[in-house]
């Protein structure tokens, strides 16, 4: 697993090497990366991405990454209000177990669904490792990670809630690992790049976990993902696979998959946050992309709006 290095300093040994002109990138848009690749090669791109890396992965998610066994029990996150408040039948004052067994709680159903895939077990491992509270009955607006807690809207189906958990677990893991982008410390371009890097990794997690669920009959509805997005991911992944196989027929399948995942995440999925595929819910007709949104946020931190005359609004 890569370790984030955000200070922007180049390794000391660079000073002793012949000077080679490299584009001085601090960002990482697809276009910038393509220019860097053309002018300085793949190693320069890899080194550049290393400097920008957040808590990301080189291969499909596995539960062992967070110290979990291959199979994870739905109760691994410990008792929660959801489990504690599951209603029973009868008066509940006796010692017997009369009556029909209670239906599994919403959380138990979601955890069971997550346990059917490697990425789902990885997400459960994150929740367990960091003791992440997850509210699957959230009645407010949206579904999100905030400050080490995950809120999943009660309106989502079991399938959608499981798929959203895959995404939010990535953000929770980044937050708890202390590798979250710092808007106050990073340059504008580096902040945008790092925020989108975590988003792109979260999208890949979601795709990796959702595809096997869908193949077994789960629905994408409400998850944010669409079949079109999965198709775009596959197209980019397979194009890279064909390129690698043609270039080196001896390359192992695991290595091909590892490189395809990185390439697809850092080029195709990352582009979705720049090209209008993903927009904010608040931008209205302006269709605000996430590169614009994070840039605006960086600007706002440094140039807060003047208070309205006459007090609070």
């Amino acid at each position: 697993m890569r370790v984030a290095r955000d200070d922007g300093k180049r390794p000391v040994e660079d000073a002793h090497r012949p000077r080679v002109h490299r584009p001085d990138l601090v960002g990482g848009t697809a276009a910038e990366l393509a220019r860097l690749q053309q002018s300085a090669g793949n190693r320069a791109v890899a080194a550049h991405l290393d400097r920008l890396a957040v808590q990301r992965h080189l291969a499909p998610s596995m539960p062992e990454e967070v110290g979990e066994p291959a199979a994870t029990t739905p109760s691994l996150a410990g008792p929660t209000p959801d489990q504690a408040l599951t209603p029973g039948t009868g008066t509940g004052t006796g010692t017997g177990t009369t009556g029909a067994p209670a239906a599994p709680s919403r959380q138990a159903q979601i955890y069971t669904k997550l346990n059917t895939t490697d990425t789902g077990r990885w997400a459960l491992g994150v929740i367990d490792k960091w003791k992440i509270p997850v509210d699957y009955h959230f009645a407010g607006v949206g579904s999100f990670h905030q400050g080490g807690k995950i809120f999943v809207n009660q309106s989502l189906s079991i399938d959608a809630a499981a798929m959203v958990t895959l995404h939010e677990a990535q953000h929770a893991n980044t937050y708890k690992s202390g590798t979250q982008a710092d808007v106050n410390a990073l340059s504008r371009a580096a902040y945008i790049t790092k925020m989108i890097a975590d988003e792109a990794e979260a999208v890949v997690r979601q795709i990796e976990g959702s595809v096997p669920m869908v193949s077994r009959g789960s629905s994408l509805a409400g998850s944010g993902l669409t079949q079109g997005l999965i198709d775009r991911y596959r197209t980019a992944f397979y194009a890279k696979r064909d390129e690698l196989e043609a270039a080196d027929p001896t390359m192992t399948r695991a290595e091909i998959n590892r490189r395809c995942r990185i390439h697809t995440r850092d080029v195709e999925v990352t582009s979705w946050f720049h090209d209008g595929t993903f927009v904010t819910s608040t931008g209205g007709a302006a269709n605000v992309t996430y590169s614009q949104h994070y840039g605006n946020e960086w600007d706002r931190i440094r140039n807060p709006p003047s208070p309205a005359p006459g007090g609070a609004g």
């Binding site: 959230f138 009645a139 407010g140 607006v141 949206g142 999100f144 905030q146 807690k149 809120f151 309106s155 953000h171 925020m195 988003e199 944010g224 669409t226 079949q227 079109g228 997005l229 198709d231 775009r232 197209t235 582009s271 946050f273 090209d275 209008g276 595929t277 993903f278 927009v279 904010t280 819910s281 608040t282 931008g283 007709a285 269709n287 996430y290 949104h293 605006n296 946020e297 706002r300 007090g311 609070a312 609004g313």
Partner: protein
């Protein structure tokens, strides 16, 4: 009721954690949303741009001070309108009323926009299947414009809408006191249109 006098704690509770934190800290914006045909200001937009994923919701403030989220809840809208009273005297007011109804009650992760032609659609890059559907849609019949006319018991309206990745023709019947009944026909689905993330 002005923005400065709405009960912030009640708004924060209604929208829940996430958006509610910004309401209490002051980073969330509260903006009055006028509704044609409704005299008092009872609908507000709550929006916080200072989050990794910006959030917004529309809330209704009842005369007694109760606050409920109206986003994704058409029943709450109907209850609020019945409580405060609606008077729609002409087709233009009916059209404005329905447009606000659509915006205020849409799901927070569903873009709903009225369109009058394909040039109004904010296309994005699509998968091969999505691009094929886009070409088929663009080669199809032209998009009808809005219709708003008086009817026996109120007003009859028709709008073409972008709803997420779908284009649909909606038909509304609106009574003079603001009750809405609606139906729709999907014109094209799974198009390469923006996804709220």
């Amino acid at each position: 009721m002005s923005e400065s006098s709405i009960p912030l704690d009640a708004v924060a509770v209604a929208v829940g954690p996430g958006l509610g934190v910004g309401v209490r800290s002051g980073t969330a914006e509260l903006r009055a949303v006028p509704v044609p045909g409704v005299a008092p200001t009872v609908v507000y937009l709550v929006r916080d741009e200072h989050l990794p994923h910006p959030l917004q919701a529309y809330v209704g403030v009842w005369p007694a001070g109760q606050v409920r989220v109206l986003s994704d809840d058409q029943d709450a809208w109907a209850a609020l309108m019945a409580e405060v009273g609606v008077r729609i005297d002409d087709a233009d007011t009916a059209l404005g009323y329905v447009r606000q109804f659509l915006e205020v009650t849409r799901g927070s992760s569903v873009l709903v926009r009225e369109i009058t032609g394909p040039e109004d659609l904010p296309w994005r890059p699509g998968s091969p299947d999505e691009e094929r559907r886009r070409a088929t849609f663009l080669a199809g019949p032209p998009i009808d414009g809005p219709v708003a006319e008086a009817a026996a018991d109120g007003y009859h309206l028709e709008l073409t809408l972008m709803v997420g990745q779908r284009v649909q023709r909606n038909v509304f019947d609106v009574t003079t006191d603001g009750r809405v009944s609606a139906s729709y026909q999907v014109l094209a689905d799974d198009l390469p249109l923006p996804i709220v993330w």
